[in-house]
Every structure is written in C-alpha cells, then in structure tokens.
C-alpha cells in the first residue's frame, strides 16, 4: 500500500463523500501513533523523567549544603565529576554519539568549575579572562571529538570572549569594527566548515552551518546599519567591501547548491540595510511610507523568485 499522509487524507476527504468513520480509520491506520510507538514513548518518557528528577534532587542537595562546604570539597566535587566523566568516555563501550554528548556536558562543567574557582578566590578576574580560560581548556576536546554541538559551544565562547574583550579592555574599538570582527570570525568558520565537508567528505549538520550563517549575517547587518547611522569611518568601508564580496559568494553558493536558505537570509539582510539607508536619508513621514512599501515589494519579489527557483530545481 502507498504511504499516505495527513495532507492527502485532508485533500481527498474535502472533495469526496468519504464518511467520518472511514476517515477516522484512515487517520488511525496511517497517521496516529501505533501501540508499539506508545510503548517506546512511555518507556523513554518515564526513564528521562526519572533521571532528570533524581539528578536535580542530588544537585539541590549539594546546593542546600553549598555554603557550608569547604572550598576543597567544592572544587574537588566538580573536578571529580569531570575526571569521572572523561574516564567514562575513554573506557566505556557506549556509542560515539553518547560519548560526545557526555563530553559536551563535561565541557560545560569546566565552565562551572572556572566560575566556582572565581567565586572562592575572588580572583578579581575580568569576565573575559574567565571565558578565555574556559575556551582554551576545552579546545583540545573540541578538535579531537569533532562533535558539532561542542564546536557550536566553542564558537559561542569565542564570540563571547571577543564581545567581552571589546567591552572591557579595548573600549576604543568602534562598534562597526567589533561587528566586523564578529562577522569575519563566523564567516571564516562557515567557509572552512564548507570546505572541509567538501574535500574531506565529512558531513556537517545543516543546523550547524545555518546557525553560523545566521550569526554572520546578523553581525554584518548590524555592523553596516550602525555604520550608516554613525559618522563615516574607514572600518565601515572595509566592512562594506568584505560584505559585498562575501554576500556575492553566498548567493553564488546558494544558487549552485540549490539552497534556498542563503538565498533568503542574504536578500533579507540587504532589505534591512537598504531600509535603514532610506530612513537615514530622511526621517520624514513619507520616507517611512516609502520604506514600508519598499519592504513589502522587495520581500514579495524575493519570495516570488525563491518559489520559481524551487520549481525549476524540482523539475531538474
């Protein structure tokens, strides 16, 4: 029998005299969760609830006694946990994915350890050195495990370090310059991940590339918008040039790989930038009217093109 889905049932029942009982039966047989699915689900549901509640019970127990614990015990507990987790990863025979998930959890524990260390010794550390410490100490794990979630954590940490450094130490950097640095950092990660996946045949999950691409486009858009609204400076010119080159590359890449995602975010970013430019030229009432019409027309044009591209791709 051909597998039919919910939309099929909906369309057919809308245009026929299919009765309610038969439709209910068709839904039951083809769509709804089966007995076996339910059994599996209930087992997973109860065991996850059990583990979550028990572990949080234990954590709350330590939290209750936290103030009374000696600093040696506090650090020892966390370090012990990290050592046990890494030993478990090295020695146990679980699947690679399970081990990687545990390693990601352990990498977060390293951050907790640094936070507790800072709290006990009042190191007076600027928040940014705390993040740099965390980033450096998990770098080896990130490279060895090559696990996307861990890479993502690493990239978030790098961006945080950069942002905090700019805020706390390099306060003379302009916002445009900081956003440009973020943009370059994320784009270089994106491009290297695409190149690595191409030449080494490693499969990089879609959500990973998409999140980095989104972050990169965000920083470029914000950077350029701030540049437009503020006085002219040279970093802005550089950012404009880099963005123009990279956006063109992104569009070419999207067309080549038939990927609608890049063909949506780059035009969207351009539309936002042009809208800000329009408002910067004049903030009179009619400019806002023109901007709002411009947004509607341009977004509609982008969507129209995307739909016709999708049609073309599916026919190829």
């Amino acid at each position: 029998m051909i597998h039919i889905n919910r939309e099929d049932i909906q369309i057919i029942s809308r245009n026929s005299n299919w009765n309610e009982k038969a439709v209910a039966q068709a839904l039951q047989q083809n769509i709804y969760s089966s007995s076996n699915n339910w059994k599996k689900f209930l087992r997973v549901f109860f065991i996850s609830l059990s583990i979550c509640f028990t572990v949080s019970g234990i954590i709350f127990f330590f939290a209750y006694n936290w103030d009374n614990l000696h600093k040696f015990v506090k650090l020892g507990l966390l370090e012990g946990l990290i050592v046990i987790a890494t030993a478990f990863i090295l020695l146990s025979k679980f699947t690679e994915t399970t081990k990687n998930v545990i390693l990601t959890g352990t990498a977060i524990m390293v951050g907790v350890l640094f936070a507790v260390f800072g709290q006990i010794y009042q190191t007076g550390a600027n928040a940014y050195d705390f993040f740099i410490g965390w980033t450096i100490f998990i770098a080896l794990w990130v490279i060895i495990s090559n696990f996307p979630a861990l890479w993502m954590l690493f990239l978030v940490l790098l961006n945080t370090c950069l942002g905090l450094y700019a805020e706390q130490v390099a306060s003379n950097w302009t916002e445009v310059f900081v956003n440009s640095l973020h943009f370059i950092l994320n784009v270089s990660f994106l491009i290297s991940s695409i190149l690595i996946s191409k030449y080494n045949n490693v499969k990089i999950p879609i959500w990973f590339s998409y999140s980095i691409a989104l972050a990169a486009t965000y920083f470029a858009t914000v950077g350029i918008c701030i540049g437009i609204l503020n006085e002219f400076n040279y970093p802005f010119l550089v950012l404009l040039f880099i963005s123009a080159v990279l956006y063109t590359l992104g569009i070419i890449y999207g067309l080549k790989t038939k990927n609608g995602f890049y063909l949506s975010i780059i035009p969207f970013s351009l539309i936002v930038i042009i809208s800000v430019l329009l408002i910067d030229i004049s903030s009179g009432e009619f400019m806002f009217l023109i901007t709002s019409l411009f947004i509607i027309v341009s977004i509609t044009a982008v969507i129209k093109n995307l739909i016709s591209l999708q049609k073309k791709w599916s026919n190829d």
Partner: protein, 358 residues
C-alpha cells in the same frame, strides 16, 4: 505527500474498501494537489513573509505617527476597517503565498488603527476587545488562509484574555483555561469530523489547531508563573479540574492502545495517575502541558509535541523555582519523584514486554 500519479491508485483503493458508494471529484482533488505543490512553501519563505510583514508594519506605524494622521479618530477607524477588508479581500482574490507579506502587514495595521481610533473616542474599555473578536471571527468565516486564520484565532483568544485583565476579573482565567482545554482536546481528538464536515472547516483545521495550542499555552502561563496575574492562591486548583479530567480521559483512550485491558491493571493505572495528578493540582500548568504532550503524541502532531515537551520542562522548573520550601525539602521531593518515575518505568517495561510476548 504522495505523487500525483499515485492519487488515482489511492482513490481506486478507497473505492474498493468503502462498502457504500464512494464518490469523489477527481478534478478538484488534482487541482488542489497542483496548487499545493505550486505553493509548496519552505519554512524559509514562511519566516521571510512573517518578518517582512512585521517590519513593514513597524515602518508604516512610524509613518502614521510622524505624519500625525492618528489625530482624527474617524479617519483612523475608516482606514482601519478599509485595511482589514483590503487584507481579507486580497486573500480571497488571490490565495497565494506570495501576497502573505502584504496581507499580514495590512491586516495587523488595520487592527492597530481601529484600536487607536477607538481610543480617540474614549470609548468603553471593553469595546475594542469585543470589536476585535467580532472582526477576527468574520475574517475566519470569509478567508481560510493559514497565516491570517492563525492570527485571527490568536486575536480572538487574546482579546478574551484582555477582557479578563481590563475588568480585573482575574479568577475567570480558570474558565478561560477550562474552555481552552476542552476546545483543544475536542479539536485534536475529532480530526475526522473536521475533515468531513465541510470544505471551509477542513481548511481551517490546521490554523485552528496551532492557534488553540498557543491560546491554551497563554492561559497556562498566566496560572503557571506566579505574579503575572493576581490570582487567589486558594483557587489555583480550579484550572486543574479541567486539565486533570482531560488527562484522565486521554488515558482512558490510551489503555486499549497499549493493551492494558485487565481489570487489575486498569485500577492500578487510574489510581496512580489520579494520585499523581491530584498532587500536581497546585500547578495546573504542569498537568496542562502533560495533556498537550499526550494529545499531540496520540495524533502524531509533531509541532504540538515539541511545544508540549518544552512547556512541560519550563512549567516544572518554574514550579520548583516558585516553591517556598528549603532546598533540602525540594531536594527530597525531587529525589522521591525520580524514584517514583523509575518505578513507573520498571512497571511499563515489565508489563509491555509480557504483552509483546503474547
């Protein structure tokens, strides 16, 4: 979705299966298939049209504010109605994904203008909300476009909630919650009825389902997070009446599916679930999100399931965070619930395995 070549096969198969005369309008079915594959909108397109619509709305509101056009109440009302009628008319005329951006922003601007216009007239506080409900219902009757219908359902329920706030009749939130629980449960469990009733209702089904889900969540958040609404703490359990009864009802549907048919099992399952649900009756939001998870899994509704799991985790965390117990007591509570769920796990594992052997 099946390919168009397979439609004929399926229709023939159905014709054989149905005892009575099975009649269908093949042209209409093929036409809908063609339309839905031409309008095949990826998530990127949906998100683009929603964000684009929002940005355009913002720019347009800025235009109105700066131009000072909002000074005339009558003008605002006329424009507001014109915009809403325009958006609905556009959708009616060309029901295509391309014009979604335009119709969303025009529709939203229309509501804002009417709200501002009524404000100029110092109308009764309840009037805008009542009018919004009426307009949104009219829009639902006229057009069944996915995004407009979804927004209309949110406007109806959001206006009901705002009526509760305006009149400071906070405890009636429990009535709202009960109504949402009943409506959501009914809609999810009677899918076939909605599909076969008539064309319009069948097309409204998807936006109705997601709209009710969000409306139910809004109500649950009101009772699940302390301090949003001044509720009488002694009456919080009122919302639980509906959620607990609904969960028990879903369990009664579930029992035959997992082959728990013996009298002993039934009594055991009902007593433990009732006990656990009664314990959680201080937090209707927890049993409410449990209801969402169970219903969504039952009918294999993936978005609902994901939202249900997220809200379940959120409400449990919120509940323990708000609880005025010492950390030690919380720790004991959490640990013993963990052990209890372990017992449930062992019970289901044992029961379901023996069933599989039979």
């Amino acid at each position: 979705m099946i390919k168009s070549e397979n439609i004929q096969d399926i229709l023939q198969q159905l014709k054989l299966q149905e005892p009575e005369r099975f009649e269908f309008n093949e042209d209409a079915i093929l036409e809908e298939y063609q339309k839905s594959s031409a309008d095949q909108s990826s998530l990127a397109i949906k998100v683009l049209s929603i964000f684009g619509g929002l940005l355009a709305t913002l720019a347009f509101m800025a235009f109105l504010l700066i131009a000072g056009l909002y000074d005339s109440g009558t003008g605002l009302l006329i424009f507001g109605f014109a915009f809403i009628i325009g958006a609905i008319g556009l959708n009616k005329a060309y029901n295509k994904i391309i014009i979604d951006t335009l119709s969303i922003s025009v529709f939203a601007v229309g509501f804002i203008l009417i709200g501002l216009g009524l404000d100029k007239f110092h109308a009764n506080d309840n009037l805008p909300a009542l009018l919004f409900i009426l307009i949104a219902i009219c829009s639902l009757i006229i057009t069944q476009n996915y995004i407009l219908s979804f927004i209309s359902i949110l406007i109806v329920n959001g206006s009901i909630l705002s009526l509760i706030f305006i009149n400071k009749n906070y405890n009636s939130i429990h009535i709202y919650n009960a109504a949402m629980v009943i409506a959501f449960t009914y809609v999810l469990l009677n899918e076939a009825k909605f599909f076969t009733l008539n064309k319009k209702i069948s097309k409204l089904y998807n936006p109705l389902r997601i709209g009710l889900l969000f409306s139910l969540l809004m109500g649950l958040i009101m009772v699940g997070k302390k301090g949003i609404v001044e509720l009488s703490p002694n009456l919080i359990w009122l919302s639980s009446v509906a959620t607990v009864l609904a969960v028990l009802y879903v369990i009664s549907i579930l029992l035959p599916i997992v082959n728990a048919n013996s009298q002993k099992d039934k009594v055991l399952i009902y007593t433990t679930s009732l006990l656990l649900l009664l314990l959680s009756s201080f937090s209707p939001a927890i049993s409410g999100s449990l209801l969402i998870i169970l219903l969504a899994y039952l009918v294999n509704y993936k978005t609902g399931f994901a939202i249900g799991i997220m809200s379940f985790i959120y409400f449990i965390t919120q509940y323990y965070y708000d609880l005025h117990f010492t950390l030690l007591l919380k720790s004991i509570l959490l640990f013993s619930s963990g052990l209890l769920f372990m017992l449930f796990y062992l019970f289901t594992k044992k029961k379901l395995n023996t069933n599989e052997k039979v």
